[in-house]
C-alpha cells in the first residue's frame, strides 16, 4: 500500500534541484549569448517589456531638470545666452569656411575623378542613462529602430566621437563608448596624417594606441581624428588627444595613452550619424582566393564593435 503525503506537505522540487535547473538555464543563455549570439530575438522582446520601466525611471529626472530650467534665474539665462551666441558666431564662421573648403574639395575631387564624399545624415538623441555595468562602457539613448537607427552607426557629441551603436532595440539603442575595452576606432594624427587604431582603455577611461613603433612620429598633445578608412566613421571627426607617451627600449611598441575628446562620461544630447557610404568591397581573403575555405569567414566581430580588421 502506497502512502502519499497530505497536500500541505507538497513543496515542489527541492531547492537544490531548482537551483540546478535555473543555473543550467542561465549557463545555456550565457553561452548562447556570448558565443553564438542567438539570444538577440529574446532580448529584443524583453527589452520592449522593460522599456516602460526605463521611461518611468528617467521621467522624474527629466522633469526635475525641466523644472529647474524653468526656474533658472534671469542672469544665468542671460549669461548662457551670451555664451551660446559667441559659440554660434564662431561656429558659423568655421561653417562658412568649411563650406568654401568643401566646394573646393568637391571640385578637386571631381577633377581627379575620386568618389565624392556623401553628406552625413544625423539623428539627434538624448542619453537616457549610463549603463549600470561596471565592466563595460555603454550608454543607452532614447532612439531605436523605430526612429531609423542602424547597427554600427557612429555617435558623436559636440566635441567629438562618442562611440558606436552596438545594439538597437525598438525604442532605445545601446552605444558602446570609444573607451570600452572591446571598442576600436581607426584614427589619424591630424598633424602628420599617421594612421593608427585607438583601442578603449576600459576602466581607465582613456584610449590607447597599440602597435605603434617606439620611434613613431607622435608627440604629446597630438590630436587624433577618424581616418574614415573603415567606412564606418566619417573621416575627420575628433576622437582624442595624446596625453602620455612611454617609450621603453625593452618593448618594440610605444605605450601611448590618449584623452578622449568627447565627454564620454557626461550625459546629454548626442548625434547618431548614418552614412550610406559607397564603400568598395573589401578585397577577398587570401585563403578564400586559394579556394581552401570558399565563402567561410569566421565572424570575428565582438559586440559589433569597431572592427580592427577593417584597417588593413
Amino acid at each position: 500500500m502506497e502512502h502519499s503525503p497530505p497536500p500541505f506537505f507538497k513543496r515542489g522540487p527541492a531547492p537544490l534541484v531548482r537551483l540546478a535547473f535555473f543555473a543550467s538555464l542561465s549557463f545555456a543563455l550565457l553561452v548562447l549569448d556570448a558565443r553564438f549570439r542567438y539570444a538577440e530575438g529574446l532580448r529584443s522582446v524583453l527589452a520592449l517589456a522593460v522599456y516602460p520601466l526605463q521611461v518611468v525611471a528617467t521621467a522624474p529626472v527629466l522633469l526635475a531638470e525641466r523644472i529647474s530650467a524653468y526656474f533658472g534665474s534671469q542672469s544665468q539665462l542671460k549669461e548662457e545666452n551670451t555664451a551660446l551666441r559667441t559659440r554660434l558666431l564662431e561656429a558659423s564662421l568655421s561653417a562658412q569656411r568649411e563650406e568654401a573648403a568643401r566646394a573646393e574639395a568637391t571640385q578637386l575631387r571631381r577633377l581627379v575623378g575620386a568618389a565624392e564624399r556623401l553628406p552625413v545624415e544625423s539623428t539627434p538623441a538624448e542619453v537616457l542613462y549610463n549603463g549600470r555595468d561596471p565592466y563595460s562602457k555603454k550608454v543607452v539613448i532614447d532612439r531605436g529602430a523605430q526612429h531609423g537607427l542602424k547597427l554600427g552607426s557612429p555617435v558623436v557629441d559636440e566635441a567629438g566621437v562618442l562611440g558606436q551603436v552596438t545594439r538597437v532595440h525598438a525604442m532605445v539603442a545601446e552605444v558602446t563608448l570609444v573607451t570600452d575595452k572591446d571598442q576600436a576606432i581607426p584614427v589619424q594624427v591630424l598633424r602628420n596624417g599617421l594612421r593608427a587604431v585607438a583601442f578603449g582603455g576600459g576602466a581607465s577611461g582613456m584610449l590607447e594606441l597599440r602597435f605603434m613603433a617606439a620611434n613613431a612620429e607622435i608627440q604629446n598633445g597630438d590630436r587624433l581624428v577618424t581616418s574614415g578608412i573603415d567606412g564606418t566613421y566619417p573621416p575627420g571627426l575628433p576622437v582624442a588627444s595624446v596625453s602620455k607617451i612611454e617609450r621603453d627600449a625593452a618593448y618594440a611598441f610605444a605605450r601611448i595613452a590618449c584623452q578622449p575628446a568627447a565627454g564620454v562620461d557626461a550625459g546629454g544630447f548626442v548625434l547618431v550619424l548614418s552614412q550610406d557610404a559607397k564603400r568598395s568591397a573589401y578585397p577577398e581573403d587570401a585563403a578564400a582566393r586559394a579556394g581552401k575555405r570558399p565563402g567561410k569567414r569566421k565572424p570575428r566581430r565582438k559586440d559589433g564593435a569597431g572592427d580592427p580588421d577593417a584597417v588593413r
Binding site: L19, F21, L30, V56, L128, R132, A203
Partner: protein, 175 residues
Amino acid sequence: MQFGDMPTEQRILLPVRASTILGSFAVALLLNFLPWRNIAVVPDFVALALAFWCVRQPRLVGLGAAWCLGLATDVGNGVLLGQHALAYSLLAFSAITLSRRILWFSLWGQSLHVAAILMFAQAVGLAVRLATGADFPGWSVAIGPLVGAALWPVVSSLLLIPQRHPAEPDPTRPL
C-alpha cells in the same frame, strides 16, 4: 541562548499580499534603472528586495522569480543574457537556505548576513564577466553590496509596513 528567545520580529504579522511583493520588485527595478551618477556606490536594489522576500517568504518568492528578475535586469542594462539571472538565482538559493537562521538575529546582525549574500551575488557576476573576457573593474565593485547591506534595516522595516497590524488601542487584546 536563553529558552524563550524569539526572533526579533515579536509581533505577529498579517499575511503578505502578492501586490506588495510585485510592487516592491517593480520599485526596485525602477530604482536600478534610475540614471545614477556614480554607479559604484549604488546598491543593487533588486538584489536587496529579492534577498528580503526570499528571507521573509521563502515559499512565495524563490528561484523562478529571481531568474525572471535577473533576465529583466540583464536586458535593461544591456549585459550578457543570463549574468544577473545566474547571480540572482544563487542569491535566492543562499537567502532561502539562510532564511531560518537570519531572522533570529537583530537587524544589524541580519544585515551582516545580507552583506555576505549580496557580495556572493556580486562575485558570481564578476566571475561571469571575467570568464567572458572583461577587465577587472577595481575593488569599487565591493562597495555596492556593502551599501546594500547597510540599507537592510531601512528596507526591511519599510517592506514590512503593509503587514503590520493597525494600531489598536485595546489593552485587552491578547496579541
